[in-house]
Symmetry: C4
Subunit: 276 residues, 4 copies
């Protein structure tokens, strides 16, 4: 999978901003430590994810007329179809994020392909929408992942940290768009806290975090790349933290010529260019 | 325990601010490592908790006419009845915080119920006041905790991170008010330091921490929720750090319509609404 | 050892500031991991301690006419008598800091007493000055430490974090002054870095650290306490970091009525008051 | 190797600034955990190192007419000769950084000498340029390293943290220049992030990091020393982070009399003075 091409955005757009969300709910905690299943207060952050956090995040997106992509573990979709319904009703896209936020139990190609097929089917059934892309829990893909995605009818992966421009790779089963990101654009390193290593850390005030994110958005915009935010309603959806994606939206408006597509839309645009 | 209702505050109040304290004293350190019992300098922070730290915190509260809730491990109450007396004399409420700040030794319902009954009795004997609520050490509740609290005559739990509004849950033994909080509103993540992982970390200056707390207070106020601060005299009671709760009080005064009740008062108000 | 008394400072002084230094040199690293003895680049920070770092620190103190206390592991004194000579020549006091910065190999009273006697003798021989006080490596004292100090003719300990006022404790062998400190006033939590947990952390800019220290100095001054800084030439003696103790000195000058004694002088003053 | 001398810089220069880079690519990750070899998203940061990151860094250096030194593991040079070619084409110097960023497999003098000879040969073959210096992965040198460097025809080491002035040591096989550095001048402590301890940490905004670096540059300049930056294209080469070395260059221009040589040039100057 070595063939790559540099895409252009639609006319009038210089860069892209993907404000995506991972809706991990309880799986954020059970995948860190199975013992958390018996710790209601730890799990309660996952309830915030599906409740107040999701409401604040959806409110922000709707206020600005933004449709984006939500990556959802299939177990979360099955357990909380109402949350998926709310997301879909606002026009957002549902994409894959594994089953239960755990690493792949079997990293062979057949096992990974079977798992991704099942996840895709489940998400499509719960959401009633087509599912076209994947972010692996903790970005832990294999060498097979992108070709499997092409094989099962997907158009995008958002897992790599090798570039600031989205690009197309072509494997045995066809092309797939990679929409790269970086840990600094994930709200986990900034806002995730747990009462044990490595997540027992300080919190920083919004100004520090917003500065990191808007600096990166400005610099990626100057390069014509894609700023892929990886956000979580249980983190950036805290009452005072929802101001952080709001600042990115403001900065994008100031910059102008920033396209805010769903990942499916960005991938479709890239793949269209690929063909012609 | 799935029934919930959204409460209103007393007339003229838009949100609540609970500036609660956990008085862990030596148990903060012996529960981290039993070996600390033989480390007088480590334990000495617990002496600060009961001495200078408590004095500075009580002084601040009295200066502003605030009565609040102190969560106290029963071992601390037994060892330091004088500190409990000082707290009660200023009109504050005493609530449960386990025996020795260790996790529950037995998570079965009968064992937890027996433990909480004993803790309640001990605190009531030492303090001479009724005890009505519970914060588990490290928020580590079980699925039984809130129903046990109702059973033994309590009115509130302050352990969950699922919401910004206080709410009532109703189990087999009656209703209980949950007054939710969040790690970012606990002074531990900001100010706790120990000479080993995960607590060997940087300290941040007051401006960073105050900004996080007042941003969250303002945002929760706008939502009509409760800002539950979880503070420790040995952390936020350091001479320069007592300015942090002072800033929250100033911000609440600026905002106006912020109710600063004891947790018992907030719970009583919620449960009254429940009945009518 | 429960008897305590609150001291007053000399006429015209409202609080005290002890800008003390621990000169750990290589022992900072060999006590963390004996394997560091074979890692010249790790040890080289200890050479900075005895060389450029010490020069910058001594230069600052001399510039401001401040004499203070240097705590030195006896192995460091034996290995680097020249550094001790430089310190003593500037009028500073030498005090005990264990042998090799390791925890006590035997925590029994006789073993600890024998060790402290040997350390005292060694330091007195190398420095040619009387040795009167002790800070345990990592503040790790025992229940016997302060009484042993009284027994062997010392006047002060600087290990506890229980108070902001210096105080006198009286054991079987006589009185000893405790000059308390706090982790936030140690430059280790702010500036120590090593390539493994828990010391792999961010560095913060001077403004953040200076703010924490001067806030605490101002607040302790208001309470009439002692601000005990625990500094290391290999940390705060980096070229840009020596500005940090400089800021404390400036703040003390602004405040006025801040006494900057050696710990021996402070202890003598406290013990004199004790007797009368 | 105890003989040392204090160097002067060329006429008109008061201090030196070495903006060096370590081009670790995939070896940054495989040396942390061999399992990372099967984690494409983790490795992808190494692709950024060789691609976008290197381009941004080379662009900055060219824009300011700066030639500097790139330390490259020999495995990286063999795998990515194109990247080495780009670096050399811009006039930069290639220096040694081990084979695969792992610690020395055998710390005996003959084994280390054999390894360094092979690394030197490999780098010279790939780059077509003479190789004259060494930075050990994680600065992990042995007591033999500098004498081996002299023996195999090198002129400099950049591993120690004992001084702010470059100096010459003379072993059995001749003189070698040490160009010292410090962890705070390495971008790893500020910008390296991995999803496990000890590298799961907060990111800080550019202002904090730039302040630390420019404060140190100003203070070392005042002392007439060398500010040795240890940078990584995959860290400081992120779109918004390349502003950090840019700020150092601006500060050096403001200060004036700051020499920005390659390490080979600085070493040659030092060794020339040594002889005369």
């Amino acid at each position: 999978m070595t063939e790559r091409s540099s895409p252009a955005y639609p006319p009038g757009q210089r860069s892209a901003l993907c404000l995506t969300f991972d809706l991990d709910a309880h799986t954020m905690w059970t995948s860190k430590d199975p013992g958390n299943a018996a710790r209601p207060a730890v799990l309660s952050s996952g309830d915030y994810d599906l409740g107040q956090g999701l409401d604040l995040v959806l409110g922000l997106l709707t206020e600005h007329g933004i449709r984006t992509t939500f990556f959802v573990p299939s177990d979360v979709a099955v357990d909380a179809p109402g949350a998926i319904g709310k997301i879909v009703a606002e026009g957002h896209e549902i994409a894959m994020h594994g089953t239960d936020h755990n690493p792949l139990p079997d990293r062979s190609r057949p096992a990974e392909a079977a798992l991704l097929r099942t996840v895709k089917d489940t998400l499509e059934q719960v959401s009633g929408t087509p599912v076209r892309g994947y972010r692996a829990p903790l970005y832990d893909v294999t060498e097979h992942t992108r070709d499997i995605l092409a094989e099962i009818g997907c158009t995008f992966s958002s897992n790599f940290m090798d570039a600031v421009h989205p690009y197309v790779v072509r494997g045995e089963h066809g092309p797939i768009a990679e929409i790269p990101t970086h840990w600094a654009l994930d709200d986990g390193p900034h806002l995730l806290f747990a009462n044990n290593p490595p997540n027992y850390r300080q919190f920083l005030a919004n100004d520090q975090i917003a500065r990191i994110w808007t600096d990166e958005l400005r610099a990626i915009h100057a390069l014509g790349g894609v700023t892929t935010m990886v956000l979580h309603p249980q983190l950036v959806g805290r009452p005072s933290r929802v101001a952080l994606p709001a600042r990115l939206i403001e900065t994008a408006e100031e910059l102008g010529e920033v396209w805010l597509p769903t990942m499916g839309e960005l991938a479709a645009h890239l793949l269209d260019q690929e063909v012609t």
